[in-house]
């Protein structure tokens, strides 16, 4: 291959942006360059649809990851627009120094690069490295403000995340051992596409054992229920732009890796039934998070738990399997990536105008900041799964396919969704409609990213374009 293809561009652009952004000292120029780099990565990702799909032992491109890369780079792009105004405000109130801002921009591009590495990787070791690097960068960003609670959150994230990656690494080694027997020693034995192709010949016992470690390891990064302990603290401790990236993208990336391994195991009939385990984890996450939503007093923790809930729904959908449930799962992670990052953008502005994260101290924003209140309300309505937004579509599809296959699980699913819905609406009332309390600074934010995300979710709820439906159907079929 001559020259740089679009696949390489998604890795090289952010990689080159890291040193440049680390050196640029003018805050506004840095923010502009950050947006520019994200825009270039996004266009490279979109170009992947139209260019040839390369395949090597390290890189593989198929419908599934093209979709994920476009989603990731798109949310990365809008988040960079959000963070430009958000961080300018943080600098004004003195929480951020120019040096820290440079550091932030460089780390942001590094995070984008690491996530793209995971998505284009064919090598399961490379996937692991990408997830690990992305987690570490997120840990650094969570602890960036150096407040005691941020350091505490970063430490917890780091320890739990490292244990997760340790177990995932052991699982990766076991998969290599299994594959080495069939595919032969060296790099090919770690290539995902060869693994998937030779799945029926792999030793089912060792493969199942490997998957248990991979599941526990990567579920930690997805934030599924028994392994979620780090997630709310990490969201509450760091800058809101990073909470948006975490909820919208990082959790998805880990789920993506898990699905890649699920696809391998689906090819081997004697291996354990991965689907039912994921269904179990998903339901536990959903119901647990739904009840927890009532008890939260911190606005960022509230939406962090909502992310656990939605990741649970997605894991449940992919666990159920079949064309309809997989379709619903794909749509759901897409909608969640848009909507949750959109909500965190709004939350970031709310926290800035109110100067606090405590829900009790945030009320009556409909009086003081009407535009922000409207956007936030629509966001919460969308995330709670009400029509006409896209999450209603995905949840409705999931519920109908579940009732067709497993009515009992369908009842649990609906109950979990309703409980979570109640909690979110309850909190929404306090935040938006109560008596205005406390301070209220004027908002100096660009609401553009929130508008974009809301519009996209609204369009998806009303009408999904035909090419996208076909694309999703193809991917859903390949997921098994």
């Amino acid at each position: 291959m001559i020259g740089i293809g679009s696949v390489e561009a998604t890795l090289i652009v952010p990689a080159f942006a890291i040193p440049i952004l680390a050196l640029v000292s003018a805050p506004r120029l840095g923010a502009t360059l950050n947006i520019l780099a994200c825009a270039m990565t996004l266009s490279a990702a979109v170009a992947m649809v139209f260019t040839e799909r390369p395949r090597s032992d390290l890189i593989v491109i198929d419908d599934f990851n093209i979709f994920m890369i476009i989603l990731t780079t798109f949310v990365g792009f809008t988040t960079s627009i959000f963070s430009a105004t958000y961080l300018a405000h943080e600098m004004e109130i003195g929480r951020l120094t120019p040096v820290l801002l440079r550091f932030y921009h460089a780390m942001y591009q590094a995070l984008m690069c690491a996530m793209n590495v995971v998505l284009v990787a064919n090598n399961i070791g490379l996937m692991w490295v990408g997830v690990e690097v992305a987690t570490l960068l997120a840990v650094i960003m969570v602890g960036m403000y150096r407040r005691p609670e941020a350091i505490e959150a970063a430490w917890k994230y780091f320890i739990v995340g490292s244990v997760g990656s340790g177990l995932a690494f052991f699982g990766t080694i076991l998969v290599y051992l299994v594959a080495q027997d069939v595919v032969g020693e060296g790099l090919p034995a770690m290539s995902w596409d060869l693994l998937a192709k030779s799945a029926p010949m792999l030793d089912p016992k060792l493969l199942s054992l490997a998957f248990v470690f991979l599941l526990v390891g990567y579920s930690t990064k997805v934030g599924l229920a028994p392994f979620h302990a780090w997630l709310p603290d990490a969201h509450a401790g760091g800058p809101t732009a990073i909470s948006a990236v975490q909820s919208g993208l990082l959790l998805n990336i880990a789920l993506y890796v898990l699905l890649r391994f699920k696809m391998v195991l689906a090819g081997n009939e004697a291996a354990i039934d991965v689907g039912s385990i994921m269904v179990g984890l998903g339901l536990v996450s959903l119901v647990f998070a739904a009840f927890m939503l009532y008890r939260l007093r911190d606005i960022k923790r509230l939406f962090a738990y909502s992310s656990i809930e939605h990741m649970g729904i997605a894991a449940f959908a992919f666990g159920m399997g079949g064309p309809l449930a997989n379709f619903a799962g794909l749509l759901h992670i897409t909608m969640h990536a848009f909507m949750k990052s959109g909500i965190f953008f709004a939350v970031g502005h709310i926290v800035q105008v109110k100067g606090t994260q405590h829900i009790a101290a945030i009320s009556g924003i409909s009086v003081t900041h009407p535009v922000l209140a409207v956007l936030f309300t629509f966001g919460v309505i969308a995330i709670a799964g009400l029509p006409p937004f896209g999450m209603f579509t995905s949840e409705f599809m999931l519920i109908s396919s579940t009732f067709a296959q497993q009515p009992v699980l369908g009842v649990v699913l609906v109950a979990g969704l309703l409980i979570a819905f109640g909690a979110l609406i309850l909190r929404l009332q306090d935040i938006v409609f109560g008596e205005p309390t406390g301070e209220a600074y004027p908002a100096q934010a660009s609401y553009f990213p929130v508008y974009v995300h809301l519009t996209l979710v609204l369009i998806a709820g009303l009408w999904l374009p035909d090419p996208i439906v076909r694309w999703f159907r193809g991917v859903a079929a390949s997921l098994g």
Partner: protein, 245 residues
């Protein structure tokens, strides 16, 4: 595969596992750090032996990293951090509790009580749990067919070391012992990686892990600085100790 080769290939990972039990058992943090240094040394020998036996010279890199970074540099750094933490406790004795602001006083109590939480699960119970975990790893890996005896048994050792590292992280609350628990878990991972004969990227991943560990120590330092919350109260104290950090 000659018998001596096999025996040594067993002895070295076996000693890594035994040292994991020492880690579980020891209550004094200085000793825990020393034992961890020994464990990394045993790991380094084990990797070097595999480099010879598998005729894979690149594994020597992993052995050298384990020796230099994990049995000398990191333990030294941890000792410093631990000493620094202890000196927090000593301020109380030196200046007398009456002079210390109440906030600081409470934090010192907190750190001390965190050290004492370790007693919650006695070392005897911890040892029993550890034995159970070793039995579990044997039960899990032993039935796996298709791989050679050496690989299978290496995996058993590795899994046992990993699980013991996890147990250590769960049962101990002190940050230094938690970090050591993670690092011993990571020693188990390297043991597994060298057992998977011909695994690509093994060296790269071992380097990545070293960076990770350097990162832990870095975070520990920041964290210990911030465990004090009230910075101004400690300024005088810290300026004396800055050379040590």
């Amino acid at each position: 595969m000659s018998k001596q080769w096999f025996d040594v290939a067993h002895l070295l990972p076996g000693s890594v596992l035994v040292l994991s039990f020492f880690l579980l058992y020891q209550d004094r943090i200085e000793v825990v750090i020393n034992v961890f240094a020994r464990q990394s040394m045993a790991l380094s020998l084990s990797v070097a032996w595999q480099a010879l036996a598998q005729d894979a010279p690149h594994l020597i890199v992993i052995a050298v990293i384990a020796l230099v970074v994990k049995s000398f540099l990191i333990p030294n750094e941890l000792r410093r951090i631990h000493r620094w933490m202890q000196s927090h406790h000593q301020i109380e004795d030196v200046i007398g509790s009456g002079l210390i602001p109440t906030a600081l006083h409470r934090i010192i109590r907190q750190i001390q009580s965190r050290d004492r939480i370790e007693e919650e699960i006695g070392s005897g119970q911890r040892m029993l749990m550890g034995l159970g975990l070793v039995a579990l790893s044997i039960l899990l890996v032993q039935p796996v067919g298709k791989v050679s005896t050496y690989v299978r048994e290496d995996l058993i050792f590795a899994l046992a070391v990993i699980l013991l590292g996890l147990l250590m992280m769960i049962t101990r609350r002190n940050v230094v012992t938690q970090a050591v628990g993670f690092m011993s878990l990571e020693n188990g991972l390297i043991l597994a990686a060298i057992g998977a004969i011909g695994m690509p990227l093994a060296v790269e991943i071992s380097v990545a892990f070293s960076i990770l560990i350097a990162f832990i120590v870095f975070v520990l330092r920041i964290r210990e600085r911030f465990d004090t919350h009230d910075e101004s109260a400690l300024d005088r104290f810290r300026s004396e100790r800055r050379d040590a950090l």
